[in-house]
Amino acid sequence: MDRRRSLRLITAGSMVALAVGCTPAAEAPPPVDATAHEAAAAALWPRYGDAVLAANLEGVMTLYSDMATVDVKGFPPMDKPALMKLLGELFATTRTTEFTVTPEYTHVVGEGLVHQAGRYREATVPTGEAAATGKPMTEYGRFAGALVREADGQWRIMYLMAFTDSTVTR
């Protein structure tokens, strides 16, 4: 199984959230707008998928916090630079033709912090030199992570764990 594919998936995937928005503390906490938080979390994945489908490495990476850690089966834990290197290699050798993330668990933990988990699915075709010998693949798996709203108001992935359940060669 090509772990690079699962990695990209993961990337797209989702997560449980552990993080927080890192906003200043206040004496009287205002109520959290759970609906808005859920909507923000839900909106992140389509952007992620669009960036993956366009092989837009910068677009994908901007959805990760600079402090992000990604924990994917088959790879050592990665920080953002390590993830960027790996995704760059993936985008150079495969093209993603389908990418979906389906959250199944969403917990608005607090202001600017959402934990989310669910499933992902990705279809890829080899490109470049790999096109001659590689085969189209469809892969699906599960993820959990933490989404945080950072100081600039943007929601990003702070932590992500993911593993592949299956890879199907078409």
């Binding site: 552990l18 993080a19 503390a25 906490p29 850690t69 924990d71 607090g110 202001e111 599960r142 932590y159």
Partner: protein
């Protein structure tokens, strides 16, 4: 590798410790990180004991009633009763002879919500043969009215064995995903 894992999981703690939800005062509202870490490790130790005893009901007590677990090799399972059944199925097929659960990083995200990540290693005896399973996991916990932290969401995957063929490392997984995965992680 161990160091990498530590750094990642350390990142989780950092997230929970350094970034508190707006509107909260860390010292007044969020439990101290070291206190939370100790409490979650204690829960892990108790989980170990339940595994070694093959006691699915005792394992279930470490989860909230509505907990969800997504373990590599098992279907996503929701609800304490269903999780007990999952572990019960495992215990009926093999015996855990060694369990080591380590909370590498932990911290509070909210007054009653904590997160942790870590490793787990088990020796499982099946038909006279012992197999070692090593896991990486992350979890969300909630603090119950009884003062106990219980897992509300749990995800974990089996570590891939050390790569024997340098030409394929690190992007290929030796053995793929077919390694024995009968054992849900802690």
């Amino acid at each position: 590798m161990t160091r990498s894992i530590l750094s990642i999981l350390g990142g989780l703690a950092l997230i929970t410790a350094a970034c508190q939800p707006a509107g909260q005062t860390a010292t007044a509202v969020l439990p101290d990180s070291s206190t939370v870490h100790a409490a979650l490790q204690a829960a892990g130790d108790s989980f170990e004991a339940a595994e070694l005893a093959g006691d699915a009901a005792a394992v279930g007590q470490h989860y909230t009633e509505d907990a969800t677990a997504a373990f590599d090799g098992s279907p996503t399972t929701t609800g304490r009763a269903n999780l007990e059944a999952l572990f019960g199925g495992f215990f009926s097929a093999q015996k855990v002879t060694r369990a080591e659960i380590t909370v590498t990083s932990a911290g509070a995200s909210a007054p009653t919500v904590a997160t942790a990540g870590g490793t787990a290693s088990f020796d499982n005896e099946v038909n006279g043969t012992t197999r070692t399973d090593n896991w990486r996991w992350a979890a969300e916990y909630r603090l119950g009215t009884d003062g106990q932290w219980r897992i509300s969401y749990h995800i974990g995957f089996l570590e891939v064995p050390a790569t024997p063929t340098p030409s394929t490392a690190p992007h290929r997984v030796p053995g793929g995903d077919t390694a024995a995965r009968l054992h849900p992680p802690p």
